[in-house]
């Protein structure tokens, strides 16, 4: 059965996806794989093709070229089956203003073929998940923007889809609601195994819950990687980036570090007091402790020693900014 995708296998597989609009190529040979149960942050500048990509994944628009498989289903061949396993919240969504919260959720559940006997339980679950359980009888038209957003999210997930595609789901939400939303996404991923693809321009929010990052620019994938759980940056090899701070500059430090086999990519700031480097197997605290011991043993005045935490925004900007205007990376030669 196509729906039997093993855990951690790719639940979404995209190969050579190209989508054209008249006179304009929105997606150009896009390819990536999203593991089951992951939360992928889909980011990119305006016009990068994020919404087009989501519409293709949701089997709303047939792709012009390439293959898209969602839960083992080919979107070109079985779009209706893809609809059944997918939930899609668009950035500009609509609600039936004349319906109450309960009626709206009933309609969403029934329309997505939730069995009649299960609908009350699903309504209660979805409303509770987004904090609308006490507003069942309130009409959607009378809800505030943030509450409308929550209702839209509840309607999108009430049938417990295997894949949730969310375009700017947190816009209009207050900070507390955003934190609740992040917790909800984590729960959906952890407890129900839901695979989420979330597009947002608020990268700090994505950092809260994303396990993967997919950067699009001008219709192409420029970066797709798992995010390191500890640093929030895309994990690469076993090497880990560290940052050292010195009490006083150490002129021979670069030579000393480059002489160590496990250290590479040494980058000393112009002030001589900040050093970045990569340490093989640096995830292992014992390896980091050994390096620190070696530095102290050589009278290097280390006053700070930590993982180099680069946030999602740093990574994003590295990839979407043109090289000429890229934010300078501190290091040798930089003022």
């Amino acid at each position: 059965m196509p729906l039997d995708v093993p855990p951690h296998a790719a639940l979404i597989q995209v190969d050579g996806l190209t989508q054209d609009y008249p006179g304009h190529r929105a997606l150009d040979g896009v390819g990536f794989a999203v593991p089951a149960g992951s939360i992928t942050a889909l980011v990119g500048p305006n016009g990068a093709g994020k919404t087009t990509l989501m519409r293709c994944l949701a089997a709303l628009d047939p792709p012009f070229a390439g293959r898209v498989r969602v839960a083992g289903l080919e979107v070109s061949e079985a779009p209706r089956a893809v609809h059944r396993v997918t939930g899609f919240l668009q950035d500009i969504f609509g609600l039936y203003d004349g319906l109450t919260v309960e009626q709206g959720l009933w309609h969403a559940a029934a329309a997505r073929a939730v069995p009649t006997r299960d609908i009350p339980e699903r309504i209660a679950w979805a409303a509770d998940a987004v904090g609308l359980a006490d507003r069942f009888k309130q009409k959607a038209g009378s809800l505030s923007r943030g509450l409308r957003q929550r209702l839209a999210i509840a309607q999108t997930m009430v049938h417990r889809p295997r894949v949730l595609l969310l375009d700017e789901p947190a816009s209009g939400l207050d900070p507390e609601s955003r934190a609740d939303l992040a917790a909800l996404f984590r729960r959906l991923s952890r407890d129900l195994g839901t695979t989420l693809v979330v597009s947002s321009h608020i990268l700090a929010e994505l950092e809260d819950y994303s396990t993967h990052m997919l950067i699009l620019r001008e219709g192409r994938v420029v970066r797709h990687a798992a995010l390191d759980a500890s640093t929030g940056t895309p994990s690469r090899t076993a090497a880990v980036r560290l940052v050292l701070r010195l009490a006083a500059p150490c002129p021979d430090l670069a030579t000393m570090l480059e002489g160590m086999s496990e250290v590479r990519d040494v980058d000393v700031w112009a002030d001589g007091e900040t050093v970045r480097l990569s340490l093989e197997d640096g995830h292992d605290p014992a390896r980091r402790a050994a390096l620190l011991r070696a530095l102290v043993a050589r009278d290097v005045a280390v006053c700070g020693f930590d993982l180099d935490r680069r946030n999602l925004q740093d990574v994003y900007l590295d990839h979407v900014r043109p090289a000429a205007t890229a934010r300078p990376t501190p290091g040798k030669g930089h003022p």
Partner: protein, 451 residues
Amino acid sequence: MTLLDRLNPLANPEFRRNLWSEFSTHRLIAMPLLLGLVFLGAHSGFGTAGVDQAAQGALLALLVVWGGRQAAGAVSDEIVGGTWDAQRMSAIGPWSLTWGKLLGATAYTWYGGLLCVLVMLGAGATSSRDLLTMVLTALAAQGSALFVGMLLQRGQRPAALLGYVTLAQVCGIGVAVVLAAQGYTWSMDDSVTWWSWRVSGETFLFASTVAALVWVLAGVHALMREELRYRPQPWTWLAFLLFAALYAAGLADPGRLSSLYGTMIAVDVVPLTVAYGVVTALTLWSAVVSSNTSVGLRRWLAAPTPARDRPSALFLEAPAWVLGLAVGVLLAMALTAAWSAVPTPAWLPVLVWSTLLFLVRDLGVVLAVTLDGDRRRGALGAIVYLAVLYALLPVVLQDLIPNVAMALRPTEGATIAGSLVPAALQAVGAWALVAWRWRRAGRGLSAVAAV
């Protein structure tokens, strides 16, 4: 879904949602109160007959005018409201969505309509058959409004949809007017001859109204299938072409056609001639209302390529005008063969084939104007250009070039040099224009194999 659920209309989420949206305590009370006032007024002025007339008027106003607006906007309002994509992704099937929208969006007008029907039955001045015909006419009008509304909204920006809703509503009213006018004409005759059957005018009107309703529902169903992304299929359109051709051909009057052409026409070819005319007209209409995008056409043309490897899609996903053109070619061949048995008039085959070439030219004009363009302006532009070719140019040039009409549109007495050759040259010119537009549309897009 259990059998009980299937039989329960409230189990259709779309119908139920519409009921929730359309009805409130206030609206439930307001409708009978207002209608009651109207009927009381009519009774005090004109007695029972006045009540019946008022009920008829209210029925048509509620179901055709108001209900037509509701049906016309049933999908467009969802697009504007941002809920349509969620409906497209729902598990509701095309038929459930069709009747759920048609009867759901108009439910409140049917509530008032039902009150009118009860009053008319009570007044006893309208026969139950007439009443049924009125109700079916109203349903056909609403269905037409929904169909046209769906047809026009494709590929449009939400902001542009309101004007189309009004246009679709007017089309729905137009269908009701045509059916009513036709009913009046047929009721004047004792009988109507369709093919060789003679039936009463009332019976034929009733059957025609039912057929119109069935085809409108089939059309909406086909559009719903497309919106819900079911696999494309051409059967509804082909069946409709066949039905329309047979229906019109069955009513063909050899005497009327002969007087139209100013010459005798072999009786055997008259039905085929009418069927051919209907198919070519519908084919042109389908091209004007189609969403002609270079992306869609490129996907379709890529069907037999190794990348897509779906040769059957070349037929199954063919644009309606391509299928209509193919049917037109078949009918032209059949008509030529039928004419050869009794070759009267001599120019008929030239007219038939030049008509086909004019159709090819017109399709080229429509595509050249509408390809990838603003749909509203494109369609209006195409209609204007066709009007120029068919009506304006023949009048303007008639004093300069003798028989110029023959070279611009299908005309009786067609000749090879005067009709066939000019039609072919114009067709080539129009399609050269399409080729130019096609190249412009593909500019900036590198070659890629479609799925």
